[in-house]
């Protein structure tokens, strides 16, 4: 049932930007007509809209918990309002500062070292000529991404356990003193960053490797004919080519700079190893404990609200920066 106004483009009832001029009428009729013309595509998006509405938007009002003294009988919205008291508590105890510092410091290390390693692996992989070697090593590097954090925690235990671990076995063999890893907080930043790199480099490098493969081979061949060697090719062609990918990935990860990798920390450190909190407690593990161990819902929500608001500001500033540097790559 096409409207007669769409006679210019036969059979096409969808208004293209700038082509279909709305017939003289009220604005509301225009909106309805647009809705109707887009109905199928809208319906196609409906499951996703409902999904995010329920699982992402519906919990948001629950952040009101951050401002109450929660009790079960009154529920979230009828518990007594206490204003900023929960936040004050978090600041006075120093928890907020420790969580912020740990979360950001770990993420910065993850992002910087992770991307550097991923780019290095992708570029080097591209330089290799032995197809067989390339395939097998790529598969092996990708393997850790496929396994669960539970297994990663077990593997770490295999290596770090005081009594049986590979590390202490090695230390004893060379006559050194064994290390009590699970009670020494100073070792953990290193352990966690290395584990993260071990797990994610293969996966992350695939995105970069795909980008390198997307490079027009004619450009590379032209450079080779002109006598460019591998280092020059990498420096002047491949790296600049990867820059937009890097910026997008960086921005994506910057948005999550306050978002911790719960699975990694939880399975490596254990649920309640308070001896290591100083260096391993991040926002996610704190919120998790406030939910499952201490049942202090307001405190957990206060930290989550702080995390979301602060994180949101970080993304906006990062996006503003990128927009100024190269507008094409900005997110919005």
């Amino acid at each position: 049932m096409n409207s007669p106004t769409a006679a210019a483009s036969p059979g096409d009832s969808t208004p293209h930007a700038g082509t279909a001029m709305p017939a003289p009428g009220t604005k509301r009729r225009g909106t309805l007509r647009t809705l109707f013309a887009n109905r199928t595509l809208l319906l196609m998006c409906l499951p996703a809209i409902v999904f995010f509405l329920i699982f992402s938007y519906l919990p948001m009002p629950g952040l009101y918990l951050a401002f109450v003294k929660y009790n079960y009988s009154d529920g979230i919205f009828k518990s007594p309002f206490v204003g900023w008291d929960n936040f004050r508590f978090l600041v006075i105890t120093g928890d907020l500062w420790r969580l912020t510092f740990n979360t950001i410091a770990y993420n910065v290390m993850f992002i910087l070292l992770g991307n550097a390693l991923q780019i290095a692996v992708a570029i080097l992989l591209n330089e290799l000529r032995n197809k067989w070697f390339k395939k097998i090593s790529q598969s092996l590097m990708f393997l850790p991404y496929f396994i669960s954090f539970v297994l990663i925690g077990l593997i770490a235990y295999n290596i770090l356990s005081y009594d049986y671990g590979l590390l202490n076995g090695f230390l004893k063999m060379i006559g050194a003193d064994p290390v009590k890893t699970y009670s020494n907080p100073h070792l953990w930043p290193f352990i966690i960053v290395v584990t993260y790199l071990w797990q994610s480099t293969g996966y992350g490098s695939i995105i970069y490797f795909a980008a390198v493969m997307g490079l027009d081979s004619e450009i590379v061949e032209a450079a080779e004919i002109d006598g460019a060697n591998a280092i020059q090719r990498i420096r002047y062609i491949v790296l600049p080519w990867l820059k937009p990918t890097f910026i997008i990935l960086l921005l994506f990860s910057l948005g999550g700079v306050l978002r911790g990798n719960f699975g990694l920390f939880f399975n490596l450190v254990g649920a309640n190893n308070s001896a290591l909190y100083a260096t391993t407690d991040i926002i996610e593990t704190y919120v998790f404990r406030s939910l499952m161990t201490n049942f202090n819902f307001p405190m957990g929500s206060a930290v989550s609200l702080y995390q979301s608001v602060f994180g949101f500001c970080v993304v906006l500033s990062a996006n503003w920066l990128v927009k100024r540097m190269s507008p094409d790559n900005s997110l919005f």
Binding site: P47, A48, F52, G62, V121, N130, I136, L166, F332
Partner: protein, 301 residues
């Protein structure tokens, strides 16, 4: 000045890069493999040898005792396997369809609301309600406690995958959609008949992403499936074995082995092998597909 193209001469700098490449990539690949061998090796080592020498890549005293005990009472493992398989199959099929459909619609240049809906979805990565309200919502308000849906539903889609699908679809010329419309095809028919068959590499990649997520699921299972449930997900079962003493007592009772003689350490590893083994075996076939899918998408885009 320039050498003829046919010459297979490699200059010093290129040779250097290649040498570093083989050394670095080879070493890294080995480091990624060794921990798995360590788990397998330990699972096959006798407990007394572990007590004396610790964990080893190669078992000093070979023993399959740990596996014997794990398989003496396989009910829990098999049940957890079925739960995980069921959730993975259903979740991947449903999630993949929704992701593909949404990604296609949001990529249509003539879709009036595409920017608004894209932002609606993307915003969820910027601002979240956090764990506590999320937990209360699913546990109390949706009443999905001890319901497998609490594990299945949250894993269906993610903004990341929808964005990925969008960039895959972007490589298909819009003219295809337009000519199909001229021939009188509806939007959903175009998606189902034309776009889906053209995006199989993308679908494989995205489907694998979803499937891996489900297979390795322990987080939502830990939050919403209480220990009262006999069968939870496979990885949560492994987590229980690794961390809880209850499991150990149960298996000692079931297998008539004295608690002191139970091979605790090798049993953890044996369970890990049983819970992960099939995926690792499947991995060589799956990953080739996976890497290809991502690569094709990037080349086209």
């Amino acid at each position: 000045m320039s050498a003829p193209r046919t010459a297979i001469r490699v200059d010093g700098a290129t040779l250097l890069v290649r040498t570093i490449g083989y050394g670095f990539i080879g070493a890294f690949a080995l480091i990624c493999l060794l921990p798995f061998l360590l788990v397998v090796g330990t699972s096959l080592t006798s407990e007394s040898s572990i007590a004396r020498h610790g964990f080893n890549l190669w078992p000093r005293v070979f023993s399959t005792f740990a596996y014997k005990i794990v398989f003496e009472n396989p009910d829990l493992i098999i049940g957890s396997y079925w739960v995980t398989i069921g959730i993975t199959v259903v979740g991947t099929a449903v999630g993949l369809f929704i992701v593909a459909m949404t990604g296609y619609a949001l990529q249509r240049p003539d879709f009036h609301y595409r920017n608004r809906i894209s932002f609606f979805i993307y915003f969820t990565t910027l601002f979240t309600g956090g764990l506590v309200p999320y937990f209360l919502l699913i546990n109390q308000y949706l009443a999905l406690k001890d319901n497998y849906l609490a594990v299945l539903l949250p894993g269906l889609l993610s903004p990341f995958l929808i964005i990925m699908m969008k960039s895959f679809v972007r490589s298909i010329p819009h003219a295809i959609t337009e000519s199909a419309k001229i021939d009188g095809a509806g939007d959903f028919t175009i998606f189902l008949r034309l776009i889906l068959p053209m995006t199989t590499p993308a679908l494989a990649t995205i489907g694998l992403f979803i499937a891996i997520g489900y297979w390795n699921e322990w987080y939502n299972a830990m939050l919403f499936l209480s220990p009262d449930m006999k069968y939870r997900t496979l990885q949560l079962f492994l987590y229980g074995v690794v961390t809880s003493a209850d499991f150990v007592k149960n298996s000692s009772a079931a297998s008539n082995v004295d608690l002191r003689d139970l091979p605790l350490e090798s049993m953890k590893m044996a369970t890990a092998v049983v819970a992960t083994g099939p995926v690792i075996l499947l991995y060589p076939f799956v990953q080739r597909f996976f890497i290809k899918g991502i690569t094709v998408g990037a080349v086209k885009g």
